[in-house]
Assembly symmetry: C2
């Protein structure tokens, strides 16, 4: 039995599609009435775990799922020991430093030393500011990070930006990009090494579909 | 201008009610079409920040909100420097250790040393198992913790239990309670010390309503 970890939310529909093209149909997770967290594939030889974005690498790293699809942002933040297999090119967004549009900061190094920076991605933010040699005080928030600068708690935020609409609605502007993020197929390293074929078939199926999708895009 | 931090989700409606009875009306946050995160009170002398549960203590501790309402579970987990003002008695639930109903464990000390325990509340869990002198490996998950035992990743979970329905649906059973949790009114210690009256009036208003509610209940 192959188990795959799928992230609830924005990546789910396309993740299901990619596995379907590789022969594993988990379409029933897309049913809005679905309350199950563990869903068998229609062929019966696999099951999907429907989990939060941030939990996909955990289930894959601990081997409870052999494969998973998750955003590169989560992989960068969590640093779990999973094998990065395929860049699936969808779910594109970037991790960015943003400040109030009315501020005078035009790049991250303009920020004053020891200022506060709010983020859900404090590991990514720490690495970025350490590389810049700019000491900042990171404030970990779990949501609505844009309130940080609006309330005066933080001078800047580090957050994911897809369309930029949320920033704009809150009078914020991105001033520097940390990295670009897309959905990735990841795997449990030991499961891949011990695999006698079936896992590799799915990985290859997804890789082929991905190359065709990229070519036709 | 007084700022209060309100938690999105299960506690929101009753939190708005309690502030309303103390003279601050933030009813507009309950409008399902509301997209604003910072909402003025109808009297104009206060505003509410609508944030995630876990972020309430952060905004209060950093002084961006003078008051806030949040679950005791979050306060125990985060250990932020906020003043605990009033136990509001609503939103009751308990933090519990749960295992598969089919397992032989009947209390937490039955768990095998070095087993894995999954939780969103790893600080609470760590303190509990340390006090028990039972070494366990904690796995931090961000949601659907009940999948931990179901997939075999963890022997047990530490999670909030309100009605017990989620546990039951997943074939799990609570075997030990860590603590009972209810909504709490918290405040920024410095703001309370520097207050010339208005904050204390609101705290007293909420305290009085709370005592009347408790008496009539």
């Amino acid at each position: 039995m192959i188990t795959v970890a799928l992230a609830k939310g924005a990546l789910l529909e396309e993740s299901v599609m990619r596995f379907k093209k590789a022969g594993l149909d988990f379409s029933s997770v897309l049913d809005p009435n679905n309350r199950q967290l563990m869903i068998p594939s229609s062929c019966g030889r696999a099951r999907a775990l429907l989990v939060r974005n941030g939990d996909v690498p955990v289930y894959v790293a601990f081997g409870q799922a052999e494969l998973g699809i998750v955003g590169y942002d989560v992989l960068r933040e969590q640093q779990m020991p999973v094998a990065h297999l395929v860049d699936l090119s969808f779910g594109g967004c970037h991790m960015a430093v943003a400040v109030k549009a009315s501020s005078s900061y035009r790049c991250a190094s303009d920020l004053p030393p020891h200022c506060r920076v709010a983020s859900k991605f404090t590991h990514c933010a720490r690495t970025f500011f350490d590389d810049l040699d700019l000491p900042v005080e990171l404030v970990h928030l779990t949501g609505s990070v844009e309130l940080g600068p609006l309330t005066g708690m933080a001078e800047a935020i580090v957050d994911l930006v897809a369309t930029g609409r949320t920033l704009q609605e809150n009078g914020l502007v991105a001033i520097e990009e940390l990295f670009h993020s897309t959905a990735r197929l990841v795997g449990n390293p030991l499961a891949l090494r011990l695999d006698s074929g079936p896992l590799q078939d799915i990985v290859e199926g997804i890789r082929t579909t991905n190359e065709n999708t990229s070519l036709s895009a």
